[in-house]
Amino acid sequence: MTPPESEGAASETLIASYLGGPARTGSRFTFWLGLATLIGLAGVAALGLLAAPADDVQGDAVRIIFVHVPAALGAYTALGVTAVGSVMWLWRRSVWWDVTAHAGAEIGVLLCGLTLVTGMLWGRPTWGTYWEWGDVRLVTALILFLVMVGYLSVRALGGDADSVATRAAVVGLVGGINIPIVNRSVNWWANRTLHQQSSLTDGKLADLTLFTLFLAFVMAAMAILWMMVHRFRIGWLERQLQARDLDEALAARRAEAAR
């Protein structure tokens, strides 16, 4: 019987021999990237919670900006990658881009959800409400989240990999169109939304708040890159396994037919 600690290694060797290539999703690069991200995020937490000043009106609620804004920009980026990947799949039938699009969607949905939740947690003490259905920024962000959950659902429906990729790519494009609408809504409907306009480009933030926010952006970018690389490699291995299974099934049928 295999001892538990070597189970992972054993299955890794099994997959590796099956696929004829490395079955790991980590590398020396992702190890150091992950470590640097963890240390950086601890730095953001320390600066954001202890060093950055409280707001005169909002008090400590202002600190949610260090999660909310980087999560929102991260969601735009990851879902933007999905939109680009969707175009590349439809245009060039590039499997690499299809797997990238899928990875972007999973990470983007996570970050978009985080943006919505942190926004609501800030809205209750600040606005006096968790949610306003009439607000364009809030509603477009929710639509983006739901469309991309739809993207993941379409991918989970099953079928042959190419049809799944095509169906998902159409949904990915719809989500992509929504990204600039969500981002620009507070400017297009200036003085019409409960949500404030960009704190970064038009707002007034204390120096240390701004520095912490920029550090949070860099750390969010590194975290997204780390997750993208791992999720991409999982997707790529899945595709190879599927292709391998299909080849074997075809070979088996042919062998039966030849008998």
Binding site: P53, A54, D55, D56, V57, Q58, G59, V62, L90, P125, T126, W127, G128, T129, E132, G134, D135, V136, V139, T140, I143, A169, V170, L173, V174, I177, N178, I181, S185, W189, N191, R192, T193, L194, Q196, Q197, S198, S199, D202, G203, K204, L205, A206, T209
Partner: protein, 149 residues
């Protein structure tokens, strides 16, 4: 071809929906301008509270009375219910209610024979963050007769 049709259709649908949803509130000046048109209809009004609210009674109800302003228009507000925690002069609010003829309780600032009767209030925090340390510093400086411009 189908892809283009689906994407185009959804984009059109979203644009349409947003066009309708875009009017979340009237700013105080627009609300004054459209008073006849709005009549007794419920709508949302945005403005900045100009002074400390006064706790008083109006038509046998406990209310908060305060003026809000936007773009040089002033509206006297008579609010029923608890305001959000951050409600204070200088921080914009979105109020839900309707125009009512007749002056509200004192303070009457607009004195145009109307007041806005609201029963729901949201604080509309803008992107002008104020640093608490700087604020304390300014107060200390002011107390010491310090170097304020």
């Amino acid at each position: 071809m189908i892809t283009v049709a689906v994407v185009g259709g959804v984009a059109l649908l979203i644009a349409n929906l947003l066009g309708d949803a875009a009017l979340f509130f009237y700013n105080a000046d627009e609300a004054v301008e459209r008073r006849d048109e709005l009549a007794s209809q419920r709508f949302r009004l945005q403005g900045t509270p100009l002074s400390e609210p006064v706790n008083t009674f109006f038509q046998d109800r406990p209310v908060l009375a305060f003026p809000v302003g936007f773009n040089e228009a002033v509206v006297d507000v008579v609010h029923t219910g608890d305001p959000p925690e951050l409600f204070q002069p200088g921080v914009p609010v979105v109020l839900e209610g309707a125009w009512q003829q007749g002056p509200g309780p004192s303070p009457v600032i607009a004195s145009d024979g109307w007041h806005f009767a609201s029963d729901r209030m949201l604080v509309k925090h803008d992107n002008d963050y104020r640093n608490r340390d700087d604020y304390d510093e300014r107060i200390t400086e002011a107390d010491q007769g310090g170097a304020l411009p």
